[in-house]
Each structure stands twice: as structure tokens, then as C-alpha cells.
Symmetry: C2
Subunit: 309 residues, 2 copies
């Protein structure tokens, strides 16, 4: 095989009450990576589109190639020559798992080029290294679902323990990206290091409710459980119109609505594509009434994650 093209989807992390533990993949948008073998050894980025020139072009600094270098090192391969093209289809720092999608597409493409020496799940630690380069910490709540698809739970980071849970077939996601920017590190910095026991218990109850609601296809329970008493109240202040946009989503058919990742994107979950579209329209209108442009993505939950095209 001399060339490979792989797609990895955008993802919603920190799903409502599930800060750092829940993430899911959507069907689109997503990033694609193209690899072309060449005779001279070494990984070279030859083109990146859609990043407005902001991502580093050196292989050892860009998450899309850092993951490939880590994989090659793990496999003891030092003589591979390869040109890399990254096509980004989502904005950076958007809360849509942009760096994760690039890292996952990169590592899946390279694994394919090598004849798939590792399984999907075995690629996860390498994809997480891409997250470390991009955001400073090796989180799995974006790369996990982008790689594996579905609704992912990260039970533990040390040791890494990740699994997927089934979701109802007609669960749909609305992802709205307002044209503002939040620095992921800032979004983490403003969080308190201590949580009251009362709020911890409330959050645990909602985590239990959301898992059970998704697995039972109990939409009422999903809706009641989409409550975040710890992170959302703090981070919401970074997103203008947050409360109104959330209310607009819920008033127009969404089961619940919260911040996607570290923001500024917001997501809603709905039963059926029509509710998801209506919620998206209402959310976009609400942002617009405050003078903020936004992009809306309506999609089912991605089952399967990244694909080789």
C-alpha cells in the first residue's frame, strides 16, 4: 500500500454531568488525513488545509504526526518515509474535539499504512499522546469516542479503563459553534479544585441516571439526568448567552443542553432528527440575537468512530 486516507469524527466531551468521563462521537464534521509513502525516510507534513495557517508544520510539534511518530517508535520502525496531508474541517479550540480528530485520523491512517499491526483500542494511548501535545494533558474523552465511536465512558485513567455503552437509535446531537474563542487551558484553570460533598453526590446521581437512561432508552431519565452542578455553572460564564441558548434548545425539543468539551461550542441531545434540527435553529437564533454568528451541526451518534476511506 502506497497511500491511505482516513477520517475521524468530531466529538463532544465532558457530556453534561460527565466531566472527564463521558464523550461521544458525531457523524460529521471530521478531519481527514492522507498519507503518501516516499523513498526518503522521515515523516513530513506537506499540506494542512482549514487551519488558517495556525498549526505547526513540523512533524514533531503537530499532534497529527506526533501520534504517528509515537506509533512508529513503539513498533521499532525508523526507515519509513511518508508525506502527510491534513484536511481540517472544524475550527481549532472550538470544543468539538478538533485536535483529537486530527490525532485519531493520523494514527488510524498510519496503522493502516503499516498493515494494521495494532487493534483500534491499542491505538488509544498513541492518540492520547496527540492530545497531550495539543492541550497539555493526555485526555481520552475526545480521542476515545473519535477512535471507537459511540458513547464512551472513561472509568479510570490510571490504569486506563474505557468502554462504550449503547445509546437509543434515534438519539441525535445538535452541536452549535459560536464564533468566539476560549483557550482550553483557561477553561480548566477557572475550575475549583474542591467540590462540596453535596454537589458530588448530586453529580453522581446524574451520572448514574444518564448511563441508565441511555442504556434503557429512557428519554425522560436522560433528560432529567442532563444536569451538571459542578463544571457548567463555572464555565458557562465564558460563553455569552449561555443560559438563553440552553433554554432555547430545551424549549424547542432538546432533552438537555450543555457545553461541548471546554466550549465555546454547545451541544444538545434530542430524540429524533427533527427535534435536533429545531433545537439547533433556536440555539443559532439566540446567538444571532446577541450578534454572534454560529455554525450548526445536526447528526446522529457516530457508531464505529474513525474510518479508512
Amino acid at each position: 500500500m502506497n497511500s491511505v486516507k482516513a477520517f475521524a469524527p468530531a466529538t463532544v466531551a465532558n457530556v453534561s454531568c460527565g466531566f472527564d468521563i463521558f464523550g461521544f462521537a458525531i457523524q460529521e464534521p471530521g478531519d481527514t488525513v492522507e498519507l503518501y509513502k516516499r523513498d526518503e525516510p522521515g515523516i513530513v507534513i506537506t499540506d494542512i488545509t482549514g487551519d488558517e495557517g495556525r498549526l505547526p508544520r513540523q512533524a514533531e510539534k503537530n499532534s497529527v504526526t506526533v501520534v504517528m511518530l509515537a506509533l512508529l517508535k513503539h513498533l521499532g520502525i525508523s526507515d519509513l518515509g511518508c508525506e502527510v496531508v491534513l484536511r481540517k474541517n472544524m475550527p481549532l479550540g472550538s470544543g468539538m474535539g478538533s485536535s483529537a480528530a486530527s490525532a485519531v485520523a493520523g494514527v488510524v491512517a498510519m496503522n493502516e499504512l503499516l498493515g494494521n499491526p495494532l487493534s483500534r483500542k491499542e491505538l488509544l494511548p498513541f492518540a492520547m499522546e496527540g492530545e497531550r501535545i495539543a492541550s497539555g494533558s493526555a485526555h481520552a474523552d475526545n480521542v476515545g469516542p473519535s477512535l471507537l465511536g459511540g458513547f464512551v465512558v472513561i472509568r479510570s485513567y490510571n490504569p486506563l479503563d474505557i468502554f462504550t455503552i449503547p445509546v437509543p437509535d434515534d438519539l441525535c446531537c445538535t452541536l452549535v459553534h459560536p464564533d468566539i474563542e476560549i483557550n482550553t487551558k483557561d477553561a480548566r484553570f477557572i475550575l475549583r479544585n474542591e467540590v462540596s460533598l453535596k454537589n458530588t453526590i448530586a453529580q453522581m446521581g446524574n451520572v448514574a441516571g444518564l448511563v441508565a437512561g441511555l442504556m434503557k432508552a429512557d428519554y425522560d431519565l436522560i433528560s432529567r439526568s442532563m444536569v451538571d452542578v459542578i463544571i457548567e455553572p463555572v464555565r458557562a460564564i465564558l460563553i455569552p448567552e449561555f443560559k438563553n441558548v440552553k433554554q432555547a434548545a430545551i424549549s424547542n425539543g432538546a432533552l438537555g443542553c450543555s457545553i461541548s468539551g471546554a466550549g465555546p461550542s454547545m451541544f444538545a441531545l434530542s430524540r429524533g432528527i427533527e427535534n435536533a434540527k429545531n433545537a439547533g435553529k433556536a440555539m443559532q437564533e439566540r446567538f444571532a440575537s446577541a450578534g454572534i454568528d454560529s455554525a450548526v451541526h445536526v447528526s446522529g451518534i457516530n457508531q464505529g468512530g474513525a474510518v479508512v476511506l
Copy 2:
């Protein structure tokens, strides 16, 4: 109907990572309540066995009758005359849901005597009033499973939102009651009011894992998720030999082991009755080697909760 007899099972609350939100019922032991109509109005406790004379005999001070009085008041019934016999089959303050079992048996018996004006779930707030009398706060994690059976999740207290999740058929419980006593109020008092965000996230991950593990019948996941980083490390100091007893359970077939309720009882969950028995034997031996007598109860998970006999 002139007389009624009802049974309500013992329960395990604060199940591992699920402080205040998880509880389940076991098949035995349990308390029974007998009601006998009489001509003179008023609720009178005529006999209590198994409490070593420690429970109040006045109807307005004992949780078994407080729940009946609350139910009668709610229904606008003031002229009922009734004698109450309570047969306690578990020790007080044991962490086995003793007060809850009495309250639930009481309210189920009275509802039956009245021709079942309320549904099972509608009886819950009355049973919770019994808990308030017994322990100072109206918790639902013992009365919920004793009343409804199965593995219960309390998603929220305000408003009350409680549901059951399915558990694998061959999940068994070992409940070991060492012959020591802990005051429930003390056990709550020593807890810290603040939890680190890191521990909150770890606990949330385990809560999600335990719910998913039970619903998927994934025993490995159940086992990995039976980790409590918040409550158990604090309360374990009140139980002599806790670490060794827990290790004995896990080394002898249990999936996991933790404190039952506020202690001093300890519970283990196992796959199959043989593992549950082996774990119980090992736990009892470990307590015995420290000079502590203990009672062991091995049982499946109670499905259905309290029953009219």
C-alpha cells in the same frame, strides 16, 4: 380484613462508590410487622421482639408506627384502631437498614390493611419519614430498595427521583455483621464536606462503571468499578480489621467489598452463591482472628422488595 402481616428485607446502602445514591435489597433477613384491628381508635404498639428492649414503645416515637400515622394523616383517617407487633430480625445500628426494614414493613402492612389506597412507589415518602425519626435525615437508599426490591438508584432527592436497574441473575451478596456498634450520626459526622475534583471525577467514573457493569452483566466491570475513593477511606477507620476483611473477601471470590450503609456491617458482591459463601467464610474468619464475632448472611439480590405474608 382484620389483620395483616408484612415482611421487609434488609438492605445495603451506600453501595461502594454510590454513597447516598445506590442501595439494594437482599432476600433475608428482614423485619415483620403484624397489625390487628381493634375497636378503640389509635395505633398501639403491643409487642416488639428482637430489639433487646431498645426501641421506643410509643407510637409517635417509633419509626414503624410513625410511618403508619403519616399515612393515615395523609388519607384523612383518624378513627382507625390498630395493634402493632414488630418482629425485628436484625440488630439495630448495624448498617443493614434495620430502621428502614421496620418502617417499610409498617407502611406496607398499613396500606394493605386499608385496601391498598397507595401504590408501592407512593409509599416511599412515608417510609422516608420513618428514616427521619430513626436517623435524623430522610434518606431513601435503604427504604427505597426495601420497599421496591432490586438495585435502586436515587438520582435526586429534591425532587425525589428513584429508579431500579436490572442486575445479573447470579449476582449474590454476602453481608457480614461484626459484633461492634457504630452510631450512624458519628459515621456521617466524620465525613469531610469537601471533595477534591480529582476524587469526584474518579468516583463518577466508578459510578458510571458500576451502573453499566450491572446492566451489561459485565462482572469484570462491576469488580473494577467497586472502588470508593471518598467515603470508605474515612469510615473504614471505624471498623477494626476493615482492610484485612475486605482483602479476604476479594481473595476468596468476591467481585468487591465495602461498608454496608454507615457500617459496621460489610458487604461483598460475588458471581454465584458459592463465591458469596466462600467470601463470607473468609470474612468471618478474619474478624474472628481479631477476636470479633460476626454473623454472615448470604443471599441473592431481592427482586420485589417487601411482601404481604
